[in-house]
Structures are given as C-alpha cells and as structure tokens.
C-alpha cells in the first residue's frame, strides 16, 4: 500500500463526519507521513487505515449529541404496508362479509323492533285491563244487590283484572329495566366481537 492509498482509505472511512474535522485529520496524517519519511515504516506504525479512521470516528462520535437511530424510525413504513394489506384483504372478503353483515344488521333491527312491539302490546293490554277494571267497578256499584249472579261475576272479573294488571305491570317494568339494557349490551357485545375479529385478522 502506498501513502496515497492509505490516506485515501482513511478519508473514505471518515465520510459523514464534519468536513472540517476530516480535513484536520488528513492534514495531521499527511504531516505524520512527511515526518516519518519511510512510507512503509509509517504505515506499519499506524496500523490498518480502517482502524485508524475508526478510532478517530469513535472519539468524535463520543462528543457528538445522540441521534435517533434510523431503525427506530423505520416502524412507520411497515405499518403503512400493513394497512394497505389489511385493506386489500378486507376488499377480497367483502363478497362474504357484506351479506353476513347485512344479516346481522337485520337481526339486530328485528330484535329491537320486536322488543318495542312487545312493550307496546303489553302497555295496550294493561290499559285495556285498567279500563275494564274501572268499568267493572262502576257496574258493580250500579248493579249491587239487584242480581247476585251479575254481582259475583263482576267481582270475579274485578279480581282477575287486578291480578292481570299487576302481572302486566310487572312485565312492563321488567322490560324497561332489564330487557332493553340487555338488548343493548347484547348488540354492543356483538359489535365488539366483530371488531375483535377484524383486529385479530390484522395481527
């Protein structure tokens, strides 16, 4: 190896450093060769040019502020590709997923409508029972004593109405307090399940 080659290799291995630092180092190195006289002897003393450059770099790097390593930043590109991959996969799954989703939506819709109708019907029956109840009372008061059979009949009806009304009332209360929240929870559970499925596929 000649002096020129040696210095060139050192210069190459110092690339990326501050240009002023590089030029200072090379000036020193050239002077060193000048002083040393014998090229071969100097090269032997100095050791491998790569090592020489590495030691200089190491010393300079110690005094430089820490930089974020490029590996840490590379996470972003991979996640972009991931998103694209998931999107494409989702697109392919659409022919099956979409009808399935529609079915689920219809089911949910039906369930909600059903509950509402049930509630409505119950309330209606309750009202009817209520009306009959008061009608019976009125009739009882009016016909009290005139006809035993009618009186007994009306009394019986009254008690039945009362019982039915209480039962229906309880049903309505239960529906409102437990039924609807349960339905809501069921729907949200279903929704979560679908989301988790989607997330699982992404992993």
């Amino acid at each position: 190896m000649t002096r020129q080659e040696y210095i060139q290799i050192v210069q190459n291995n110092l690339s990326g450093m501050d240009p002023k630092d590089v030029s200072d180092a090379l000036i020193y190195l050239n002077e060193y060769f000048d002083e040393g006289g014998n090229e071969e002897k100097v090269i032997e003393e100095l050791g491998s040019p790569e090592k020489y450059a590495a030691i200089i770099r190491a010393d300079f790097m110690v005094n430089m502020p820490p930089r974020i390593p490029s590996q840490a930043l590379q996470k972003k590109p991979t996640s972009v590709w991931k998103t694209i991959g998931v999107f494409v996969l989702g697109l392919c799954a659409l022919p099956i997923a979409l009808p399935l989703l529609l079915v689920v939506l219809c089911f949910v819709f039906t369930a909600v409508i059903f509950m509402l109708c049930m509630l409505f019907a119950l309330v209606m029956v309750l009202v009817a029972v209520g009306i009959s109840f008061f009608a019976c009372i009125y009739q009882l008061v009016v016909t009290l004593g005139s006809d035993m059979f009618v009186t007994m009949f009306l009394l019986g009806m009254l008690l039945a109405m009362f019982g039915a009304g209480v039962l229906l009332g309880l049903c309505v209360v239960w529906m409102i307090r437990k039924g609807f929240p349960a339905l809501a929870r069921g729907i949200s559970k279903l929704y979560q399940k679908l989301r988790n499925r989607g997330e699982k596929n992404e992993i």
Binding site: E31, Y32, G36, G47, K51, Y52, D59
Partner: protein, 104 residues
C-alpha cells in the same frame, strides 16, 4: 496484562509533555510511545480534543520546505494540567492504600 492508558490519563501525559516543550504531532507521539504503550491512532484524537477545548493552541513553522504544526499549552491548559496532576496523585494514593491494606 498491560494497563490501559485511556481517557484523562493521556490528556495528563500530553499536557505535561507539551508544557515542557512545544512539540509537533509526530514527535509527541513517539515521545509518548517511548514510555507508554499506546498506538499512534489514539494520540491524534487526544490532541484534537485538547486543542478544541483550548488547553492547547497550534501554530505552524516551516520546516524543510513544508509546514509543521506545533502544539503549545495555553493558560487554561496549564490550570487543567495542575488539576489533573492533583487528581492523579489522589488516584494513585488511593490505589496504593488498597494495595498496602491501609484502607480506612
């Protein structure tokens, strides 16, 4: 196993040598090498750092038709040398104490 002369110890040696006499890179390296077992590549970063921290200054003198860069100790460098000498004394004293079993 050879004791490594790293970090501040080289600073101390270089400053001490330059204080005695202004010197240039090649000569300094060989003077240090006569006593300590260091490689040439380690001296340049030390010289550069000491110069940057203004413990040393440089000037050029023509020699044999080319330039020779001389290193010279600054006032700041003299203070630094004094501090390093004190530290070194304390450091070696402590090591001696341990070796001789004079630990307190």
């Amino acid at each position: 196993m050879a004791i490594q002369y790293g970090g501040v110890i080289l600073d101390l040696c270089v400053l001490a040598l330059v204080e005695k006499e202004d010197t240039y890179g090649y000569k300094l390296t060989h003077d240090v090498k006569q006593t300590l077992n260091v490689s040439e590549s380690t001296l340049y970063p030390v010289l550069r750092r000491l110069t940057k921290e203004q413990y040393l200054s440089t000037y050029d003198r023509p020699f044999d038709g080319r330039n020779r860069r001389y290193y010279q100790i600054t006032d700041k460098g003299k203070i630094r040398l004094r501090n390093l000498k004190t530290e070194w004394k304390q450091y070696t004293q402590k090591v001696e104490d341990i070796i001789r079993g004079n630990q307190k």
